[in-house]
């Protein structure tokens, strides 16, 4: 019964999150065919390899492009749903980790930071490092959710839209963490294999 809980749109939000994570899973499926090649910026030093590994190598840039676009979509969507900032501040406060002032600052800047990362992933600037930053952000999110879980808080993670308290039976920490691990994997792909088409980096002669 919804009347017990503070900000009651949590059910819809979890649905939204599933939608977004579904998208991520799709992309990952396509990633499974990618080659297990060593991380390298120096594409010219590669050996030709077997026909199979050549084909996989040819697919890798497209897989990275997909991971980039998917992550950009996920981050952009999550930034959008966190606004207006009053909602975002509420989500951060629910974790009870920061003082009110710090919570407010994070609440205001986190959606903006996510949006900036989304923009950079989309245009492919400093791809490897933006991928690493995105991965770090996911690790921070996972740690935050795990800490809320461990402390027995009953909150919505606020990953997509408003967080805040929810009824005891409505938490979804396991799903939230699993989803963020999926996003972490996408970020890992971008970081380890930054070479992809349609990237600004190429204009600067990087990851060609």
């Amino acid at each position: 019964m919804c009347i017990h809980i503070v900000a009651c749109s949590s059910i819809r939000r979890i649905g939204d999150a599933r939608l977004a994570s579904g998208k991520a899973v799709d992309t990952q499926d396509q990633q499974t065919v990618r080659p297990a090649e060593p991380p390298s910026d120096r594409e010219d030093t590669r050996s030709p390899g077997t026909p199979m590994s050549q084909r996989l190598r040819a697919a890798q840039p497209w897989a990275t492009l997909l991971a980039r676009v998917a992550l950009a979509g996920i981050l952009g969507y999550s930034a959008y749903t966190k606004l207006p900032p009053a909602l975002s501040v509420q989500s951060v406060e629910a974790y009870q980790l920061f003082s009110p002032g710090v919570s407010e600052f994070i609440g205001y800047t986190l959606p903006l930071f996510e949006f900036a990362l989304a923009l950079l992933l989309l245009v492919g600037l400093a791809t490897r490092y933006v991928g690493a930053a995105t991965g770090l952000l996911m690790l921070v999110f996972i740690a935050g959710i795990a800490s809320a879980w461990a402390r027995g808080l009953t909150i919505d993670c606020g990953c997509f839209g408003t967080g805040g308290e929810v009824a005891a039976g409505e938490t979804a920490y396991g799903i939230d963490i699993a989803r963020d691990v999926g996003f972490l994997a996408l970020a890992g792909i971008v970081m380890i294999w930054p070479r992809s088409p349609l990237a600004l980096d190429r204009l600067f002669g990087l990851y060609r």
């Binding site: 017990h4 903006l112 933006v130 990087l206």
Partner: protein, 341 residues
């Protein structure tokens, strides 16, 4: 030059060229990383400046109580803030003074609402509820005590001021707050100096204690004997209390209290918006002419847009007779008159 020397110099050249290449590459990476950092700074810094300046401009309308239009208490204990004869969209605000999301809502959108009412661009209908009444104390008692106190302040035409003070002083969930002495002091701060206000606070506090203590225990244990756990969870507090009336759980101590008004108002909104897109499903819930707002409610500009795009509406409650508005007297209508649609 010997062959070995030539080879060594060639090797050296090759090494240097390689180094040069690596250096160039490092510079390119530094370049793009720098560019990316600039983008992040611009987006985050620029966005932060924009959002905070927007907030500040909205906060300018805060606490401009002298400019407020009349606050009219309604028969169900809600309060309408509107210019005399205003023809404007009706913004209903359902909030619980103990709910943190409501506090965020008030911080973000409260001043804009007051300004819209002062400008005659909206009829703001404050409808306090207690979504926490069924929970254990202190969350339930905080919620009920504050709502009853705000209702008492409304008798003196100070609801909006008092409402703002309550949200500023909202206790952390799970801690005891909104103590009777504080509630009295805040009344003085809001400009209420009648002793009857303090008496009313004491009476309401006593009713709250009895409700969240003895009464709730009796009601729950009687209901647990009668209903399955599953059935119990599906029942609203209003339904439970009605069942209690017929089964010997006495709540006559609530007669003529504002605590009862709040409980009735909470039951009434659950009926009024009981399904579909506008279902009442928690607080804060904000409706413009009966249509529920989403996330846009959490910014002054979002509320303003929603109001601009709405037609004039009608308040669905009747004002309390004006002659007992300032007497602190009990409401005449015990039936929640707003239950009619």
């Amino acid at each position: 030059m010997g062959k070995a020397a030539r080879q060594a110099s060639r090797e050296r050249l090759r090494q240097e060229r390689l180094k040069e290449k690596q250096r160039a590459k490092r510079n390119r990476i530094l370049g793009v990383v720098g560019a990316a950092l600039v983008v992040v700074l611009l987006v985050v810094g620029g966005g932060y400046l924009y959002l905070t300046s927007q907030r500040e401009s909205e906060q300018q309308f805060a606490e401009q109580y002298a400019a407020l239009p009349p606050q009219e208490v309604q028969q169900d204990g809600s309060v309408v803030l509107a210019e005399e004869g205003a023809e404007a969209p009706v913004v209903e605000v359902y909030a619980d003074f103990q709910c943190p999301a409501c506090q965020e809502f008030e911080k973000a959108s409260g001043p804009t609402l007051q300004k819209l009412a002062a400008d005659g661009r909206a009829i703001v209908h404050y409808r306090p509820v207690s979504i926490f009444a069924q929970q254990p104390a202190p969350i339930s008692s905080n919620s009920l005590r504050s709502a009853a106190a705000a209702r008492a302040a409304a008798d003196y035409g100070k609801f909006v001021q008092y409402h703002d003070i309550l949200f500023e002083n909202q206790p952390t969930e799970g801690t005891v707050g909104f103590a009777a002495d504080d509630l009295k002091q805040w009344g003085e701060d809001a400009g209420i100096d009648a002793p009857a206000f303090a008496d009313r606070i004491d009476a309401e506090s006593a009713a709250v204690d009895q409700f969240t203590g003895e009464y709730s225990q009796q009601l729950m244990s009687a209901a647990q004997d009668e209903f399955s756990q599953q059935k119990l969870q599906g029942m609203s507090l209003g339904e439970l209390m009605e069942w209690g009336d017929e089964n010997g759980v006495d709540r006559s101590f609530l007669e003529d209290t504002y605590v009862k008004e709040i409980l009735d108002a909470t039951a009434a909104v659950n009926e009024r918006y009981s399904g579909g897109e506008s279902e009442f499903s928690g607080t804060p819930s904000v409706y413009v002419n009966g249509a529920k707002l989403g996330n846009e409610a959490f910014s002054g500009s979002g509320i303003e847009n929603a109001v601009e795009n709405a037609e004039p509406g009608q308040v669905d409650t009747e004002p309390l007779a004006s002659d007992d508005a300032a007497s602190g007297a009990s409401p005449e209508n015990e039936e929640s008159p707003d239950a009619k649609e």
